[in-house]
Subunit: 260 residues, 2 copies
């Protein structure tokens, strides 16, 4: 709305639709899919596993010229599921948001200066692609256009692998059988444990979802991770301290490339 | 000083000694080990690898009744190195501090309400143990008394293992050979990568030090971690999503035990 678009909302919940209107997140909102009849562009914002059933319900209400996009955090699964049913589809992944969910988390300028990835394929209609790119740019987001497979492997590295690496840390610490050591570990844990375990101790449904819908890329990342960790372990076993410090020094230099 | 103790400082650097006095961190400071001649209790605050050579230099200046303690973050290595040379020794590990080092990081109340671990052995003189416990308690720290081995395994879990787990994440992400995926990963990385990679991308000397001086406990933790991560990977391979979510749900419930 702030960019001059007319924004309509469709929700399963009448209460959500009412609040969306009250908070001026949309011009109008409804529980009736008929509200989408004359829309140019529809954003599918359900969990990844619900996109296909949702589209099946919405489909009879959409005009064939309507462009469909989504905001799911995995792309190959979504594109392969949706595009055959709705050719006028462009996969999308806005990388913004807070730990909050639901309509109360709506925020003006949420996408501003954040990455927004679109993943067209060879069969994506050029006009559909242009429309989504245009709208994304109007939000002030940083637009990236890539393939579903490249997107999925990139997010596996920096978003989904950390969840598993971090989850393994918690289960490993909890598996200590000596109750004295367990109690001391819990008493001594500080910022190092806190930060490294954060995403592995987060929303279990999110962890399940990324594993389920980005399985291939995540398994690939886990295999490489395993190899890298074994290399570090071998250096420690062999007491090759200079080699270990060299890798840690490289890590310290490389990490900022991911954080600019 | 704030607790009524008379505090003296010994540094290799005259500048550090001067600043320590100026900042009133000590009553007096010097570069001359003779300043320690009549001390009741000496805190050895060098890096772990420097403790033995430091004691060798100080030893001629200490009275046989002087109690020695240290602030190193590993204990079996230190206790085994120091106790034979100075029987009146009690290993210690104050779990406080900031990312800053040096005299400018001196802070009143630094140890207040933080864990302070002491690791006596069967041959530690009871009077030496009592003195260190008494001083630690006067600082308002939370005193834990345990063995060097139990201490080292506990800190391996929550402090040293996270460094390696996190370091492996950075080297794994950097090892992606496809430059497009590498660039996207670097562009998309956000708080999940940032937090999980923090301690693995930190001070390389610290990482080397914990691996070198807590090698056995760390290798044990890495072996258990490997088994736990493989379990998670097998669930993903076998698409056992309910089992995976169950573990992640348990993680979410268990993690706060480490953070109270």
């Amino acid at each position: 709305m702030a960019q001059g678009h007319e924004v309509l909302g469709l929700s399963r919940s009448a209460e959500t639709a009412r609040i969306a209107g009250d908070r001026r997140a949309v011009q109008a909102a409804s529980c009736d899919p008929a509200i989408l009849a004359n829309t140019e562009l529809v954003f599918l914002c359900t969990p990844v596993g619900m996109m296909l059933p949702t589209l099946t319900r919405l489909r009879p209400h959409l005009s064939p010229t309507t462009v469909l996009t989504d905001v799911g955090s995995v792309k190959a699964f979504v594109v392969e599921a949706i595009a055959p049913l709705w050719p006028n589809f462009v996969g999308g992944h806005p990388m913004a948001g807070t730990a909050e969910t639901g309509i109360m988390a709506a925020q003006l300028g949420l996408f501003c200066d954040r990455p927004y990835v679109i993943t067209p394929t060879e069969s994506t209609p050029p006009a559909a692609l242009s429309l989504v790119q245009e709208v994304v740019q109007s939000l002030g987001a940083n637009l990236y256009t890539t393939t579903p497979a490249l997107h999925d492997q990139a997010v596996a590295w920096i978003s989904h692998l950390p969840i598993l690496v971090s989850a393994g840390l918690i289960t490993a610490c909890m598996s200590e059988p000596n109750s004295q050591i367990q109690a001391l570990a819990q008493a001594f844990a500080s910022t190092g444990f806190k930060d490294t375990s954060r995403v592995g101790g987060g929303n279990p449904e999110l962890g399940r979802m990324v594993a389920q819908f980005n399985r291939t890329a995540l398994l690939n990342s886990l295999t490489v991770y395993h190899t890298q960790l074994e290399k570090l372990k071998e250096l420690i076993k062999a007491e090759k301290w200079d080699d270990l410090e060299l890798i840690l020094t490289k890590n310290q230099a490389e990490r900022p490339k991911f954080l600019d």
